[in-house]
Amino acid sequence: MSLFGLFGQRRSAPVARERLQILLAHERSLCGQNDLLSILREEILGVIAKHVKVERDNVVVKMDRGDNVSLLEIDVEIPNSASPLLAMTA
């Protein structure tokens, strides 16, 4: 077997190692972010629920990660009947 065969082609473990390190760094940060989002979602739900009745599924919290800034998007769907205040302005 040529030296190339031995060292050039068969050494796939270093590639595996590098791919894993990059992937897991990413997945671990995602995991933390998911937690942040679920915490935010629960607290936002709590604040809204004090004033109007909303369905849990109608509150969507999303994070768009950019290079320098990230965008936190909060989508809350409130039926007009849920609050007298809303019904008046409608």
């Binding site: 031995l6 060292f7 068969r10 050494r11 796939s12 473990a13 270093p14 595996a16 190692r17 791919r19 894993l20 390190q21 992937l23 897991l24 997945e27 671990r28 995991c31």
Partner: protein, 271 residues
């Protein structure tokens, strides 16, 4: 005081059931009172590896549902009188196990045994989280291969968030058991090295079990490898891992079946 250990991995086919049988037997061979519990509801296999498949009458689900008392469901090993098996049921109902039911059974087992070893199903769903739920210690079974390492990382995350210990603000003890390791292929760079895996997963090592023909032979016979061939490399690896679990300071080696070679000493101690 009893210790509840979960054998887990995320990925299937990495050696969880093999390790449960071998470590359970190894601990029992050292004089400990041991029960191995099969949590793989619907796909039970631990009974087969323990050679007890024809003696199953009641199972874990029957006990949690109150259809059988625990002593009726426990199967005593024919070779080791202080080794018992609590089999899984073959039901296809995924919700057959409840958290309360499992809590009760584990509490009862704790009072009778020194070690309660829970064989987790693959995956990260309910079955796997129930198996780890009440554990004091987790053994993460990992093969030196990308998908197994990635899944182990996920499972480590779950252990730190979904177990009772974690929820109570305590730390669950975690160890890595690397199985199906091939020293020759690792040396030529074809397989991740032990150091690679340890560095990536940042979890203390409990043992290294080499890829071994004896494991297949043991499963054919329905005898844990530490009993079927105690001198084999896999058996010695599991014996040493069991001793480390019991708190003994055993040098870390990679046992080998090649007669001419001494076991390669691995320059590291179990943490």
């Amino acid at each position: 005081m009893a210790k509840v250990v979960v054998i887990t991995s995320g990925k299937g086919g990495v050696g969880k059931t093999t390790s449960t049988a071998a470590l359970g037997a190894a601990l029992a061979q050292s004089g400990q009172k041991v029960v191995v519990v099969d949590f793989d509801v619907g796909l039970r296999n631990l009974d087969l590896l323990m050679g007890a498949e024809r003696r199953v009458v009641y199972d874990l689900v029957n006990v949690t549902q109150g259809l059988a008392k625990l002593p009726q469901a426990l199967i005593r090993d024919k070779r080791l009188e202080n080794l018992h098996l609590l089999p899984a049921s073959q039901t296809r109902d995924k919700d057959a196990l409840t958290e309360e039911g499992v809590a009760q059974v584990i509490t009862e087992l704790r009072s009778w045994f020194d070690w309660v070893i829970c064989d987790s199903p693959a995956g990260i769903e309910r079955g796997a989280t129930l198996a780890m739920r009440f554990a004091d210690t987790a053994l993460v079974i990992t093969n030196p291969e990308v998908s197994s390492v990635r899944d182990s990382d996920r499972i480590i995350g779950l252990l730190d968030s979904k177990t009772k210990k974690a929820e109570d603000g305590e730390r669950i003890e975690k160890h890595l058991l690397i199985t199906r390791f091939d020293p020759a292929r690792s040396a030529t760079g074809e397989m991740l090295s032990i150091d690679d895996v340890l560095e990536i997963l940042a979890t203390p090592l409990l043992g290294i079990v080499p890829e071994s023909q004896e494991v297949l032979r043991a499963s054919n016979l329905g005898t844990p490898v530490t009993l079927s061939n105690p001198a084999s490399a896999a058996a010695r690896a599991y014996m040493a891992a069991a001793q480390r679990l019991m708190g003994e300071d055993v040098p870390m080696t990679i046992p080998s079946d090649k007669k001419s070679l001494f076991d390669k000493l691995f320059g590291r101690r179990a943490a």
